[in-house]
Symmetry: D2
C-alpha cells in the first residue's frame, strides 16, 4: 500500500513525514486536540457495549520511590503526618488526633512512570503540533498551549491491544527492534481485530515483562524495543486517537541519529497524536488472552494539571 | 427506621458508632478493601449498560499552583526543560533538541485537590479500619497497609449523583450545614433513583459552585457544608462502596468538638468506606440534569502510588 | 561629585548606566566573579583584626514553612523519619532504630528567605554580567555560568553596616522610599565609618523591623523601601564587593516602570555586584549600636549548589 | 589513661557509655545546646587571632543533582525561570523580563551533602540528648527541640584539622577502619597541635580523596572508614564543641551490630556533641600542609531552618 512504507523510511523520507503525514490544519488552525478529535460519542457508546464480564484491569505500572537503572528523577513520597505512637496516647487525645498524609512529587516523563504525553511535549524544528512555536512552552508558565488540561473529561474509547510479542511468538522483542506497520497487521490477523478511527491503540512488545523478569536497565544505554517512526502513516490512515505501549515509545538506539526521538516527534508534532508511555500491558494481555478478545472499554483519566505536558495515569480496561 | 437516626446522634451515640455500624471483620480479619468488596463484576456490567449518549464528564477540579485561601500546601509545577529560544537555533541543532518536561509535587490531602482517601488516612482511638494499629502508618515507610495501591485496577461501578442542593431548592448549602440521611432520601425521591449496594455515591452540596462564584475560603475558618457523621448507618445499610462530595467531606465546624473529622473517622475507620474529597460536581450535575438521569458509569483511577493514603484523581462519568 | 547623581537619574540616564558604570571587561573577558575580585587576602586579614569581643551574630531571617503575605513559593519541610512512638518499643528494637531526617525544599529567591543573588540572576537586554548571553541560563542545565559555586570558598571580608533608618532618625523607611547615595554618606558620617574597596556593605532600612512589628505584606502590592538604582555609581566608586539589605533590594514601586528591578539589573548585570536579599539586620544593628562600631568580620558561606543563581545563606558577623 | 579506652570498648562497655560519659544535666536540665556551651567569646577572639594569611577555604563538597552510588535521595534543582530565548525579544520586552530562579530540594542527611547533625537527629533507647523523649521529633512538626535554629548565630571557633591519613602515612584509611583516640593523638604529635575545649575538631581519613580518585560507593554496602564510638571519652575529656570528618561519621560495618550508628548515638545523644558529616577536607588539608599549620578560624553557618535536625553547610576555614 502506498502510504505504508514496508521498508523503514530513509532519513530524508522521515524528514518529509512532517509534510506528507501531517495533521496540521486538519481540524482548523486553532485546534489543540489533534487526534482526540477522532473520538466521537458514538464511538464511546460502542466501546461501552463491549463490556460483558465486568472485569477491570490496570494498564499502569506501580510507582515506587526506589532509584533503579531506569530512573531519571527519583519519585518522592514524604509523610506529612504518620500514625506512629498514636495508639498509646491518652483517650481524649486519641480522639483529637488527625491522620496521615503525604507529599508526592515526580517527573513523570522518563522511563518508569506510566504517563500521557501531550503534543506540547516535543518540538520539531521549533514547532509543536499545528505549527505553533515551541516558545509557548515556557520555563515560567509551562505549557501555555496543548497542555493536558485539554483532556479534562478523560479519554474514553475502544481500546485495542495489539500483542506484537505474541504475534511474533516471542516473550519480548529484543532491544533495538522497532515495531513496524507489518507487526501491527500481523497482530490484527492473529487476534481477529481491526484498528479503526477513534481507537486507543495499545501495543505490547513484552518489554515490561522483561523488566519484571530480568530487572530494569537504562534504555538509553541498553536499548529498548519500541514503535518505529515508520508507524506514522499507518496510524494516521487508521485514525488512531491515542497510542500507548509498554516502552518509552521510541525504538532505541534511534534509527535516525541526531534527531532525538523520531516516533515521539512525528506522532506528537506531526500528527497531534497523544501518547501513553511506559505502560504495563501484562495484566491486560492476560485478560485479553483468557477471553480471546483484544478490545475493551478503555478509560484514561489524566490529572487536571495546569500548563503541564502530560500526566501520570492509570488507564483502566473494562472487559 | 431503626438504623437511620433522624436526629443527629449525640456524642455518646456517635462514639458508639464504632461498634454499632462497624464493618470490622465483615470481610475477614485480613481484609483491607472494606466497602470495595461490594463492587461485583455484575455491578460493573450493569453500570456499563447505562451508557447511551457516549458523553464523558470530569468530576475533578483543576489543580493549580496558586496559593488560595483554601491552600494547605502549595502545588508545585517546575519545568525540567522548556521550549523557549528553540525556534531560532541552527537547523541541525533544532532536530537534536528534546522537548519539555516538568516536576509536579503536591500534598493532595487538603481542601483543593480532588483525591481519594484510603481507610488508612484517619485513626480512631489508635486504630485504622479492621482494627489494625495506626502504628502501621509510619513516617519512614508510609502506609504499609490499606494503601491506595489496593485500587490498582481502578474503581468502576455505577455512579449515583444525589444533588442535595437541587433537592433543597438552593444554589448551595450554607457553611455549617450537614448533609443528613433525610437529605439523601429527598434527593432520591426528586431524582427517581435509589442508592444500591456497590454504588459510588456522589453528593452535591453546591459548595464548589459557591467557590467558583464567590472565591475560595478556608473551610477551617469559614466553615463548610459537608456530610454529617449521621450518614454512617444509612451508607452502611445501602451498601455504598465509595462516597464523594464537593466538600472536604466533613461538615465544619464539627458537631462533635474535640473529635477531629467525625465523618471521615466513622467512614474510613469504622466502615472501611473509601472517600473522594473536593470533587467538582458541577459538570456532572449539569449533564445529569439535562438528561434527567442521575446514574452513569463512573471510573475512578487512582495512581499506583506505593504506601500512600490516597491519590489525586480525575473521576470520569460516562453517560 | 560628578559620579554621584544627587538627583535620581532619569530613565535615559538610568539606561545609560550600563555603559557608564559597567564593569564589563574590567577583570578580563572571561571573568565571572565581578566585584568579588575586590576582596584580597590583606582585606580579610584586616577584617579579622576587627574581632575583639568574640560575639557572633546572625544576619539571616528564620526560614519557616508558613504561607505569609510575602510568600512566593512555600518552603517545604517534610520528615523522612520521626521519633514518634519509639520510646516504648522493646529494648533491642530501640537500639536498632535510626533517627529523624527531613526533606527541605525552597525557591529561595523571593521576599522571605535571606539569600545570595549571583550575577546570572537577572538579564539586561538579553545579557548577563560581562556581556554573556542570557541563553546560558537554561531551563535544563540551570546557570551554566556566573553560578553560586564560584563562591565555594565563601565570602569573607569586612562587613560595614550603614544604618540608614538610624541616620534618618526613623524606625524604618516608608514603603516606596529609595535609599540614595546621600543616605549612605549620612550614615557614614553618623557612624564614623567609611566604605572602602572590598567591603561587604549592609544597608539597614528598618524594613525587617517593620515586618516583625506589623506583620508581612506583599512588597509587590504594598511597596517596599530599598536601594535605588542611583546607588550604582557610588557603589562602583567605593569598590563595594557585595551588597545586602533588609529588603528584597529594589525600591518598590519601581522608579522606572516597565524595566523590572532596576537596582538588581544595574548591580548584577552592569557591575557584576553580588547581592544579599531579605537580610535580618536587627541583631547586627543592635550589636553594632551597643558597641558604637559598625564594622566587623563578615562570613557569607553559600551552599555549593551547582548551576544555581544564588543560595540561601546565614551571614555571620563577628565582633 | 583511665578515660581513654586503648582497646575499643566491648558492646557492654559501649552501652555503659551513656551513663559514664554522658553530658546530660551538665549544663542544666533545660539545656539543648550541648557541647556548643564550650565555645566562649574569648575562644572566638583567640581563633580570629590565628588569621594571618587571609586565605579562605571551603570544607564542603559540591552538591550535585546526579544519582551516584552514595545517593540516598536525589537532590533537586528545577528552574522556575530561565534566560533562554530572551536575547532576541523586542527591545521593550527585553527590559521587562525578570531573570532566572530555581527550586532546590534535598534530604541533606545521607552520604553526599556536607551537613550539620543536631542532637535530635538520633535516639538512644527512646531518648535524645539531655534525656528528652524522642516523641518530641514528630512527623508533623519536625524537631520541636534540639533543632538547628539553636545555631542561628553560627558556630565560630578555632578549627583544628587532625589529618589521620597523613599521620598514618596513607592516602586514605581503608573501609572498615575506625578512627581511635590514639589516631587523634598521633596526628596531634605529627602536627604539633593540641585539641582544647571549644575547638571544632575536623578529622581527615582521606575518604573523600578516595571518592574523588575512585568514584563513589555506597558506604552501607562497601563500608567506610569513620570515627569509632571509642572516641567518645576522648572527645569529652578534651571538650570538643563540634566534630566533623570526611566520612558519614560512623565506621562501617559497625563494630556493634544491631545498634545502628554507634558513634552518632554516643556523640549526639550522650554528649550532645554536634556533628558535621560528609565534609570535603582536601582543600583545607592542602592549605594546612602548605603552611604547616593545622589550626584556623572556622565558621559554620547553618541555615535558619525551623524544627529541622540539621542543615546543609559550607564551613569556611580562614587562615
Amino acid at each position: 500500500m502506498s502510504l505504508q512504507d514496508r521498508t523503514p523510511p530513509t532519513v530524508e523520507e522521515y524528514r518529509a513525514y512532517k509534510e506528507r503525514f501531517s495533521n496540521w490544519g486538519r481540524w482548523g488552525a486553532d485546534d489543540q486536540l489533534g487526534t482526540m478529535n477522532l473520538i466521537t460519542p458514538a464511538k464511546r457508546v460502542a466501546a461501552a457495549r463491549l463490556v460483558t464480564d465486568g472485569v477491570a484491569v490496570t494498564c499502569a505500572r506501580p510507582i515506587v520511590t526506589d532509584v533503579t537503572a531506569d530512573t531519571t528523577f527519583q519519585v518522592m513520597r514524604f509523610m506529612v503526618d504518620s500514625g506512629e505512637g498514636r495508639d498509646t496516647a491518652a483517650p481524649e487525645r486519641l480522639l483529637q488526633r488527625r491522620g496521615a498524609a503525604e507529599f508526592i512529587g515526580m517527573v513523570f516523563h522518563g522511563y518508569t512512570v506510566t504517563h500521557v504525553d501531550t503534543p506540547a511535549h516535543f518540538f520539531w524544528e521549533g514547532k509543536i503540533y499545528n505549527g505553533r512555536s515551541c516558545n509557548l512552552i515556557t520555563a515560567r508558565e509551562g505549557a501555555t498551549v496543548e497542555a493536558v488540561e485539554l483532556l479534562h473529561d478523560g479519554v474514553v474509547s475502544r481500546g485495542v491491544l495489539l500483542d506484537v510479542a505474541r504475534a511474533r511468538g516471542v516473550s519480548w522483542l529484543e532491544r533495538g527492534q522497532g515495531v513496524l506497520p507489518e507487526d501491527l497487521e500481523a497482530a490484527e490477523r492473529a487476534e481477529g481485530v481491526r484498528v479503526e478511527p477513534g481507537d486507543i491503540l495499545l501495543v505490547r512488545t513484552g518489554n515490561y515483562a522483561r523488566r519484571l523478569a530480568e530487572g530494569p536497565v537504562n534504555p538509553m544505554q541498553a536499548g529498548s524495543p519500541g514503535p518505529h517512526a515508520a508507524l506514522a502513516p499507518w496510524l494516521r490512515e487508521r485514525g488512531v486517537a491515542m497510542f500507548g505501549s509498554d516502552t518509552h515509545n521510541d525504538v532505541t538506539p534511534t534509527p535516525y541519529p541526531g534527531m532525538g526521538h523520531p516516533f515521539h516527534i512525528v506522532a506528537l508534532v506531526g500528527l497531534g497524536l497523544w501518547l501513553i508511555d511506559n505502560m504495563n500491558l501484562e495484566d491486560v494481555a492476560r485478560a485479553a488472552s483468557e477471553r480471546s478478545r483484544w478490545e475493551f472499554l478503555l478509560t484514561v483519566a489524566p490529572l487536571r494539571l495546569k500548563n503541564v505536558t502530560g500526566s501520570p495515569v492509570n488507564p483502566i480496561a473494562l472487559f
